[in-house]
Symmetry: C2
Subunit: 394 residues, 2 copies
Amino acid sequence: MPEPGPFTVTHTDGRARRGVLRTPHGVVQTPAFMPVGTAGAVKAVTHRDLLQLGAEIILANTYHLLLRPGDRLIGNAGGLHRFIGWSRPLLTDSGGYQVFSLAQRRSVSEEGVCFRSHLDGSPHLLTPEGATEAQARLGADVAMAFDECTPFPVTKEEALRSMELTTRWGRRARARFLELQAAGDDTAVTNRGQLQFGIVQGGVYPDLRERHAGETLATGFDGYAIGGLSVGEPVELMYEVAGRTAELLPAAGPRYLMGVGTPLDLVEMVGHGIDLFDCVLPTRNARNGQLFTSAGPINIRNARYGADEQPADPECGCYTCRQFSRAYLRHLCAANEITAATLGTLHNLHFYLDTMRRIGEAITFGSFATFRQRFHQQYSRRSHSTQGGAAQLQ
Amino acid sequence: MPEPGPFTVTHTDGRARRGVLRTPHGVVQTPAFMPVGTAGAVKAVTHRDLLQLGAEIILANTYHLLLRPGDRLIGNAGGLHRFIGWSRPLLTDSGGYQVFSLAQRRSVSEEGVCFRSHLDGSPHLLTPEGATEAQARLGADVAMAFDECTPFPVTKEEALRSMELTTRWGRRARARFLELQAAGDDTAVTNRGQLQFGIVQGGVYPDLRERHAGETLATGFDGYAIGGLSVGEPVELMYEVAGRTAELLPAAGPRYLMGVGTPLDLVEMVGHGIDLFDCVLPTRNARNGQLFTSAGPINIRNARYGADEQPADPECGCYTCRQFSRAYLRHLCAANEITAATLGTLHNLHFYLDTMRRIGEAITFGSFATFRQRFHQQYSRRSHSTQGGAAQLQ
């Protein structure tokens, strides 16, 4: 009998699944949303806030940590969990996405990517092996293979070239990962217990996605991610490509849709069999005053909320909505109070995490289709009424 | 038998006292430090953080709230407690200090102060009656009489002129306050249950302080504050003036030293019979990386902490010190993470509030003098070692 994998599907409802991902730092119930803790902190909240919110896993960015404070410093401190004081599961990305979106003067070769830090201009080389080793030093529960992420739009020729490079890089990343695992604790860098996910690219071209899914599965990882989406393409196209790609990934393994998305995206994509998500929307948008509510997003900076004594979302049970009015939240935003970012982030993360919990329950009861329909109806209400209200105010 | 006042001294130890201040929103155990919540929020933390830290009373600035979102808006929302969602005691200052330190193009007349908002340049007139009414609308548990705060240095002539104006303003503020109290709930503005403290000015001139204490007591308030200190004068002079002024204030009433100070100042001034303090130091300095510890202040941004796995203060039991290393806190500061401000503020406020609790216990056990001596010895240790370290690094 083969050793059981790290992932077990416990319930299915159509293509939607509920499952459990086992990691060295505990289990993650899926479908799960991972709050983004770029530099080792989810912006504007504390770890104890995240525990209270029920976050079971957070994501940190290898690129940022590599540049500051450095993966070696973190490794010497006992790894990322210990350095940042977070004892639940962690996922680190490969650095690939940020190298392409943030770094300066990058040049891509077969070996890897040369780039200059966006912080101080210092030169760096990131290779599939190097990204794997850096993530081993960080010691997250889940590491990602180094990939190249194409923008949108991109020609099919370019998408193909990039995808083939990602395949070769994925093989090298996996080989280095397995070497480290085989070496156990005998090497300077250990990745014992760590899982490594491969990333399927291919732009918005169905045949490339299909081919690259095959190549990535052939390399063989502990889980599979869909990358290169939510980079500017129309949302319907994203749904179609992600949905079709998800079908090509093993049903027995975890499927991770990287960098997605809005609450509607999450509901939609769970319906296509996705298990894991990460996105900066709930945290970043909170800092700009956008709050996600059961009736759609609102911008709490709007003057219409100046004397509004209702909670941000009357149907929400989070700390922010239990304790504070829209008028107070708007005031805090207007006064540029840091607490505005904290209260907004607490609410938005609660909304995301609670949505995932409700999705999970719906799957268990076989009522996901009904949940999805009602969620859409309710969530789209305010989008209309807000626009109407905004028009009236103008 | 006269009605008992709002304040009871429960223990004395030399001139240091322990007591209880009764307010409409509950009791405050003194000596107490009031975290500053300028615009209705203590910067970088949430109210639930403050409750966990054991803060029994916070201060809000009338000047800031008057300009944004407006005292009438807050009054219409049911008062400041309800507007900001804080159910424990609140103190509002009179606006006088900020009018002199922040507002633009101010002109002082017998009637009050004309000024322009530092936010949008809009013109405002603040009078003793107006400040009293604004604070009645805000509905804090403790309101302050409108005063003029002189800078340091100031001529005796100018200090005398200003002090006499503050006496006349104090009488008008008290008269309006008592009118509102007598009117009960029949007027548009009610201040039922609110306490009003008078402010003793007089610069650093002992005879002026003595004369003004007499004038302020003659007006008659529910408590007395010492204003106009910590505005640039040498700390020893501040101790001397505050100490001598405190002796002139009724032993049966609460004594509040406004805008003071460092941890050493608090210990020293409790020893001179002060009961209440407020200061932006623990919150503002946390946002700049300065952490107050039992061995003196440290600046966590310093490169020496880059790989330091100790907590900020090894003797501290706060969330920040229980969970995080200096290296992580320094990293968060370097990365400009909002969470750095939050964790630093949590620590500094814990240090201040815990120091006040320890002072209170020492007074109960009659060991305040020993406590004071040990606190000084321990707190001054790092001041030397830090300077030495800083010198080495330069």
